[in-house]
Symmetry: C2
Subunit: 347 residues, 2 copies
């Protein structure tokens, strides 16, 4: 098996830097758009055969070093009693957003095998389909990020409803995050049992919080999820964006690998995280719209700066954007492998 | 005159910490909503008597230590040949976004007194109307932030069109920023001549850039604007959000005061900026939706941590949000004054 990705997560020597991309299965690929013309996003997620097909599209199109199951961080919300849909051009819309303490208490727990059995089935089928070509990553949304969708009712710019609830009803907010943490922990465990060989926890919007609020209201819940996940014996990637001010607190909350976005040089972030963690990142997704010379120069700068540090996983700082040129993504995968392999030889 | 604000900008001793708020004139005030029911946003900006009235609303409602002229950072775009409007619920919409090198070259320069004479008239009237109650702040958008609206055509989440243009057409992008810098410099100079006693440069979205891209593509233009502005003899506030990774580069680009958002403790940011600059911030605007005890605790933490540092101007980390309770804003102004005055006495 190509185990570069898993070895890098454990900070072991690798023959070349592993590379995969958040949202590597998605709208930028014509194969994906063809399927989406016939099926909604949620249909794709809920039909294991289709979800496997989508997950395999980037693996077949380029030699990425990890596959990630096609799913959405919001999938656990429906079986908790908070159904949602993806509205055209608007992103997710939660039908009845949380507005009160009672709304929090009305959310219920559920058996993962019942409420999210289709994701587990996808993982099992996908692991078989991959047949050792590369490891399989499972994932979930972190409690704060999930709570923000539940409270805002969808995407947000300023997260004022979420923060307002957090400040006004701190105990109910904590109960909400505890409920989400419990579901998330069991979901991640079930994913590993179903075949996931690594996990990523997406706390995509946590960078909106002040350090103090993160530490007080969020970190304890994240820590409980990550402590649990790390006990499963697989690498766990802890990811957020805009987190320069939170990185050490996120590291303390847990994860074997820390995700870093493009806002600062990866080694500046890594120096704060310390040498005992692997780091994933950190090309700006918008760079993939640039002429190849710019993409290459920026990828090279990342690889040059990390060459003496075991445990670098090449990725973007956030997901691939919908209109990204496929050829650039493919060429980047090859470049990362070739350039880092040559470095490994000359070192 | 109440000159606390100007004294703090110069890091001189003050009797109490000065406080004002970005967007202190705006939708959260019933007086403003009453005017907006009769006039569009652009009508308010373009009618000096109305713009003065709006600018005075917060000054009359609470003892803020500075007034800021009611205007919008996008106003210079129309006289450059890029008209826009504020679409309901969508924010600004630029009718013909920049898509090519030719579009950049088609933007033209203009005389500030002609294209933006109404802002200058507002400043002169407003300065007279204030009659020394507090100093008057003028402002402008920074070149990158203005360019992002021109290229995206409005607000953006990922700024991929802007970055794509920056990477693909670096020379045209630089010409665009140089054109915007020239207009901005002359606009700020004219504002001081018309009565502004301090200036703020809003680079609101610059935190989307990597440090490397900021230094390469943006900082030289910002520096030219700020060098010019600082030669006018008034304090200049250099503001952005999500800028934890850019702060020292922003400081090097210029400004007598650095704006800091809520994502890290204000003194952590100030330690990186160094003691030779005043600092403005840094309460999360969403905190104003919290119960008073939370607002007070967070304001107190900011004031406690800055008590031994000359040059703190209390403000939010970004503009007041539209549905913020007015009473909380008023109470916060009083609290900042009373709490910091007591500290000053006991020190």
């Amino acid at each position: 098996m190509n185990d570069r990705f898993l070895r890098a997560c454990r900070r072991e020597p690798v023959d070349a830097t592993p590379v995969w991309f958040m949202r590597q299965a998605g709208r930028y690929m014509p194969e994906y758009r063809a399927l989406r013309a016939k099926h909604s996003m949620l249909e794709l997620c809920r039909t294991p055969e289709l979800a496997v097909q989508v997950s395999m599209q980037p693996v077949n199109a380029m030699p990425v070093d990890a596959a990630i199951v096609f799913a959405d961080i919001l999938l656990p919300l429906e079986p908790m009693g908070a159904p949602f849909e993806f509205a055209k051009g608007e992103g997710p819309v939660v039908h009845k957003p949380i507005r009160s303490v009672e709304d929090v208490d009305a959310l219920h727990s559920f058996e993962i095998a019942e409420g999210l059995g289709y994701v587990l089935e996808t993982l099992t089928l996908l692991r078989r389909e991959l047949d050792g070509r590369c490891p399989l990553i499972g994932f979930a949304g972190a409690p704060f990020t999930l709570a923000s969708y539940l409270i805002e009712g969808g995407r947000s710019t300023h997260f004022e409803k979420t923060k307002s609830f957090m400040y006004s009803e701190p105990e109910a907010f904590s109960r909400l995050l505890a409920k989400l943490s419990d579901v998330t922990s069991r979901y991640l465990r079930a994913q590993v049992q179903a075949g996931a060989q690594a996990l990523q926890l997406f706390d995509s919007w946590v960078g909106q919080l002040s350090l103090t609020d993160y530490q007080q209201h969020v970190a304890p819940h994240v820590k409980s999820v990550l402590d649990d996940a790390q006990s499963l014996g697989v690498p766990v990637i802890h990811f957020g964006t805009g987190t320069a001010t939170l990185l050490t607190a996120m590291r303390d909350a847990g994860g074997t690998v820390l995700g870093v976005d493009w806002r600062e040089p990866i080694t500046t972030a890594w120096d704060r995280i310390g040498p005992n963690h692997a780091v994933q990142g950190n090309l700006d997704p918008a760079v993939l719209f640039a002429p190849w010379e710019v993409v290459e120069a920026k990828a090279r700068a990342i690889l040059d700066s990390t060459r003496d540090r075991p445990g670098h996983i090449f990725n973007l700082g956030h997901g691939i954007l919908p209109t990204t040129p496929v050829e650039t993504v493919q060429r980047l995968v090859d470049f990362v492998h070739e350039y880092s392999a040559n470095k490994a030889e000359s070192a």
